[in-house]
Symmetry: C2
Subunit: 576 residues, 2 copies
Amino acid sequence: MNFAGGRGVNKLSVADYVFRFLADRGATVVFVLTGNGSMYVNDAIAREPRLDYVCARNEAAAPIMASAFAKVSGKIGVVSVTSGPGATNAVPGLAEAWVESSPVVIISGQSPIGELPRGSGDHALRTFGTAGVDVVPAVRAFTKYASTVTDPATIRYEIEKAYHLAVSGRPGPVWLDIPIDVQSAHVDAESLVGFSPKSRLDPVSSEDIRAFESILQSAERPLIVAGQGVRQSGALVELEAVVRDWNVPVALSRLGQDIFPRSMELNLGQIGRRGAPYSKSLLLNADVIIAVGCRLSVQLAGHDLEHFSSDAKVVMIDIDSAEIEKFGERIALPIVADAKDFLRSVLSDLSPTSSPSWEDWRTRCKNLKSTGKISAAQRESNPMDLYFFMTQLDRVSGPQNIFITDAGSNYYVGGQVYNFEHGQREVTSGTFAAMGTSLPLSIGAAVASPEKQILAVTGDGSLELNIQELKTISYYALNVKVFVINNGGYVSMRNWQDSFFEGRRIGSDDETGAEGLDFRAVAQAFGLDYMLLDSAESVVEDLSSLISNPGPMFIEVLCDTEQKIVQPFVETEISS
Amino acid sequence: MNFAGGRGVNKLSVADYVFRFLADRGATVVFVLTGNGSMYVNDAIAREPRLDYVCARNEAAAPIMASAFAKVSGKIGVVSVTSGPGATNAVPGLAEAWVESSPVVIISGQSPIGELPRGSGDHALRTFGTAGVDVVPAVRAFTKYASTVTDPATIRYEIEKAYHLAVSGRPGPVWLDIPIDVQSAHVDAESLVGFSPKSRLDPVSSEDIRAFESILQSAERPLIVAGQGVRQSGALVELEAVVRDWNVPVALSRLGQDIFPRSMELNLGQIGRRGAPYSKSLLLNADVIIAVGCRLSVQLAGHDLEHFSSDAKVVMIDIDSAEIEKFGERIALPIVADAKDFLRSVLSDLSPTSSPSWEDWRTRCKNLKSTGKISAAQRESNPMDLYFFMTQLDRVSGPQNIFITDAGSNYYVGGQVYNFEHGQREVTSGTFAAMGTSLPLSIGAAVASPEKQILAVTGDGSLELNIQELKTISYYALNVKVFVINNGGYVSMRNWQDSFFEGRRIGSDDETGAEGLDFRAVAQAFGLDYMLLDSAESVVEDLSSLISNPGPMFIEVLCDTEQKIVQPFVETEISS
């Protein structure tokens, strides 16, 4: 072990090794907040020519940026934070990347080896080295792998293992915590020992494919339910081919809602408790449901699949066996597999068939879809209804634009009105619907695709949680339009407090703590141009004009403070 | 188990039980960010007449507020957050309360029991219920106790145990995670089973007291080193009596630096690597060091006590045995005890003695103290030197004022120039020196003592990490003056990057990501009056004028962008 200085011809520092490795694997950007405890890591990033870096202004936002970057670019997301509070600040973003299944590598600085917290149980030190804390036990809960690297000679093993786990199987974040004297220690790259991953998943068995064929052939009203696992496995083309060849209607999860355009005839859009208005009818009427790359969340399927007909046969293809096992016997055919492997086997091994009943079912689905309009989307009034505003935003948006939504009303409305034509995408906190994610998600998306227009909607309540990142948007002149829905803050919370607690409001209106900001000054403070949208009559013209200008802008949108969300989870008749 | 509705005569909800219990134990305030997953908890807070609540604008800040509230009020700090991202957002603040040894109870909402994440290891679900995640495994690392309450009948046991652990021994945070259907379940309070704590620490043994006396009598140059444990055990009076009766010089840790006024003759102030300029000389010359309620941090003592003379006998009295054990054999007399118990035993069992050498030692200490001025504190130039500014702030401050500092330059300068006369206090992130803590700490302190003036200093880099809480200060019209040191951001980071990495800057100057905000607009955005201090000549007058007005204010202070910190950790001659 050889500390800083004494760099040999074939030697490089542990920090250099890590970032050279990540650049070799296609990493192009690191989301960073620098600090003393990660100084050699920071310097390695500065010196690696293939890596750019983006400075976040709170570590909490950095893994969210990296998560969005990974979703949009298909590359690994990388984060660097310093020791102690730098590391613990990153936990909120880590948890977000965890539930969103994003491949993200987080490197934290740590106190020198001699000052690591010691002991365990009642004899554990809370802290030892300056601003140090043992972060690995905490982050282990939200990572596929987490380790403190105490021996420089293990760095190849550690980073290979961490990277492998981040990108393989169900992707997710990993975390390496590197003491400062390990960061600067020099290693002989040639002599390091690597990591040998266990063999991949078995290929999809022919028995499973035959069983799938048999269930599908028995179906009268089949429905495919697809999620973001389809995109993650790179199987969009394969899924489209299956839908087309077999002519089976497809519905999408909240996270997967952008995988097909709504104009695709057999695409019934996002379904669930706050999905398309006909969601319940659709789900209750299907007699075979094929879930692919979709965990069947509670919002979509109910926690025991009670949103489905109890007679429906459910086929579930998921790379994470835990997601299938949670439904126990309710899954008629469980297939633990990568979505792409499964869909390719279907395409290659089976010949499309159909049953006479399918045509009637398709007609009924198309009728459902055509009647599933939300009337509020057409309501031209002031202050604007959020359905109306977001419908107009969708209307003026261009090809390849990326929508971002945040927690609260706009999360639900975006899930109900966006159409995703012409290669449009959405990036959102689909699983957590976490407040304050819109800005860091926008940044990650914009860094991944600088040429694309990012249309980010956030609420006046949510904005505050990562408001510091407005400066990141202005500093890097990212092509992000930030639409802040001013509806008096926390409208979703007011709604449930009014419904359940006789209107006893706490922290949800001006009187109890949710008083809003002066948004014009907010834009000025963080270096962004400001615009106010307060007129339903001119909103299309205003939006067209502002979207035609590249670069960042802060737009306050005056909306109805009594916004209601369409929760159409009631069964309606399906006409045929 | 009896869910919402069906409230009997002697029954109340689990949520009501928790907050009635905490109010019975003296809790007066809950720091809250509301949410759907904690709706019954939120409503219980709204309905408990003895509890007020303060709405934070990011859950990360709430435990920091509660930590400061506990430090200033001596009461338990209480936090309520919602499930999923609400809970994970709170982790940064939790870690801060953990290393600061603050008694804080955090109550998080959780998905209903039927939707808790299940399984373990490779078969663990990442998330199940809407916006749900299993937070207890993560927060266990930073709490004295953490539990998901799955059975309403255990609520008395759970809250009694959590509360007991939070406030007893070395205080610290605890966490109860309560599924939404448990929150609303009704229990018969009379029939619940409670928690029986283990017996308290043994009293300080007479052997230890005699051994202490013997070491002290052998001393020629004794020094007491005291920390915040003295205040936490309520032993300020006892320590003062020991210092006075035995006539022994006392030095203070960063967290304990406000326990005595600097004008107290035998108080040598805060010592350590960035403490009083004579710190190293003082520590190396003492031949007996008595550490009481002080963990002897690396910054103060070095990680193997190498800042002390290797011949010095060290007595360490600490309630946390792990803090003593970390030094192994180096501690001549380890006493695991509450500081107050120990000091009372000394006062009651021993008669003060002295040795002829002590008088010479005291004279040398007083000489050290008188020569320990920092010249930059007198440097009246523009832009201002931070030593000069904070010295003037100290000068104009009034009795009982509470100073708050943040990470970076002002943390070190505050530790070197503040004097703590007339009952003044400091609240700071003493252990982590975490960026962005100044605002939430100010809020907690102001809520605890609304009548006191809070003088909060923060850096332009640090401000951004919890900038949303400026609105909390303005909304509640807290008596907080926020001084934002504008020195071009991240001056500490520039200093080490320049020193260690040939000036390769990353994320520490305008070109690499640390460009600052428009502070006048920041104040306007968050509803605060704004003032600029840019003149060393008029700063005393300006400060006096603004401090004379109660209520919040945002003050931008133009300071030297090349600020250097006095790091006087070199030995100097001690004259006698």
